[in-house]
Amino acid sequence: MKAFIAFTKKEFTESLRTYRLIVLAAVFLLLGLMSPLTAKLLPEIMGSIDLGDGVFITMPEASAMSSWEQFFGYIGQMGMLALIITFGGLMANELSRGTLINLLTKGMKRQTVILSKFLTASVLWAGSYALSLAVCYAYTAFFWPGGVLSNAFLAFFSLWLFGEFLIALLIFGGVLFGNFYGSLLGCFGVIIILSTLNLFPALSKFNPSSLAAQTLNLLSAQKEAADYLPAFIICAAAAALLVAAAIAVFNKRRV
């Protein structure tokens, strides 16, 4: 436990010194700000495009729901991209630089490294996501007061859970390949496979990637929580399994 706390402290200090914490927070703050703004501006921009012969595109008036639609779009794509780039080197950089050798030969357990890194990344991700959510919520309430969100907790929780899945995937990829690009490519590969599977509507119920894109439908009450329950369970189980697999692989691996 002592080793775990000490290593976690080291992880947070590292996040601070490598600007990881501040950059991630800034990016998610930006995404939170951009969502309501895009929602508000989009109808005006589209409306000002002349398709010729005086034909204009008319879009429905922006509402709180269009702001949340943008939020899910931004966080689900740009946010996840930022998350992947930021945490891609989490495990891989230590392995390629050999900075863990000293600690491990002094008797620190290998699982401590993985669990501590997972915890730190989760805290950073949860913090930046909460920041983004709070900002978007405040501006959405400011521009479109009096809206009611259904299933709000589950819908927002699902995005966070998908982020956790990606972090677990990045750590596993980092342990497996031992370098930044391997970890990154492994993660993108899984995302591409999952998005391809999403083309089949029958599978989207079980697909973790629908947590990042489709749970918006929970907010507008077009779908019920039960529709995504299998995806929730599979996503959480996959994340836990990936962390366990990362520990197992790391135990066998030469540092």
Binding site: V23, V27, M34, L41, L81, I85, G89
Partner: protein, 65 residues
Amino acid sequence: MGDLKEYLPILIPLGIVSVGLLIASLAHIFTHKKYRVGNRALWVIVSFINFIGPVLYFAIGKGDE
């Protein structure tokens, strides 16, 4: 475009944060000589890609100290 004033409460913080990110990464690029990948010119250009540029620089480009 409608009344710009309506958007000010959101445009001001948006501007501050994205310019802040840009300045932070440019400042780091110009005060450091060594990069893990690429060179100074590349990273200066990349920094201008809105918010993903600085993220990329701090994650991949920044050299070890």
